[in-house]
Amino acid sequence: MKIIVKTTLLSSILIFSSCATIISGSRQNVEILSEPSSAKVYINEIEIGKTPVQKNLKRNQEYQLVLKLDGYKTYQTILEKKFNAWYIGNVAFGGLIGLIIDPITGAMHKLKPEEIDGNLKSGTTYKTERGNLFIKISMDIDPNSEKVGQLEKLE
């Protein structure tokens, strides 16, 4: 019986010792929305689609995010890697393995829009739900552009 208890305990420690990797995974789902929608989204200068758009990104990298929409100023920010609190779970479980594995998989990080002096870039809001990052961007009108007309759907 003691052997079973010991084996179960050891297995639990080994299994749950990489807390952040198990709970968060090495990638984070990022959903980008904009107001108005249909802005072209570029990550590291690669076009990934138009808003609203989702992308599964590695947690251990920083990404440059750019949104472009005709008549609006180009929006630019950095998705930074920040400390993922689940990494602390390794201390609670006493998992030395987790302390090593989580940084290797990148799970010790989470992605967040950059802050300058503690403030997000103007027009940016975000929330994290179940590990997924939702970013909403209000695009600023480009004062240099001039509206010359609008297409309307024929009835």
Binding site: N44, I48, N90, V91, L99, H109
Partner: protein, 130 residues
């Protein structure tokens, strides 16, 4: 208590040092910064450098022992950012070591150049998101 302090210290050290590769740079002829809208060509080893280019500097990416963010795409993105900061519009890989038994990282030697022509017309590496 001591154990917790040690563990937290270890976590802090890993947290601070992990992920980033070691970058060595040498800019011999920096140029005015480039904007995000100006293209930068990424030339791999097998891509030819055009004629009449001005060398801006060199970059070297090495494994810092704790590096995890060191895929080819990630290093080329970082090289492109450095190029823009120093006014170069060509990133040319001159030496590339792939991940092997000794390192899980790409290790690159890169030269940065300024080219007056249209860099988008050059045969170049197409960056991917990892």
């Amino acid at each position: 208590m001591k154990k917790i302090t040690r563990t937290l210290l270890l976590m802090a050290v890993i947290g601070i040092t992990s992920c980033s590769p070691k970058i060595t740079s040498n800019f011999t002829n920096p140029q005015p910064k480039l904007s995000i809208d100006e293209n930068v060509a990424l030339l791999d080893i097998d891509h030819d450098l055009p004629e009449n280019v001005v060398k801006v500097g060199d970059l070297r990416f090495q494994d810092s022992m704790f590096s995890t963010d060191c895929s080819f795409n990630s290093l080329m993105t970082q090289a492109r950012n450095e190029a823009r900061k120093n006014g170069a519009n060509i990133v040319k890989v001159i030496d590339k070591k792939k991940p092997d038994l000794w390192s899980s990282c790409y290790r690159l030697k890169i030269e940065l150049y300024k080219y007056e022509g249209d860099v988008s017309s050059l045969n170049q590496y197409k960056l991917k998101i990892d």
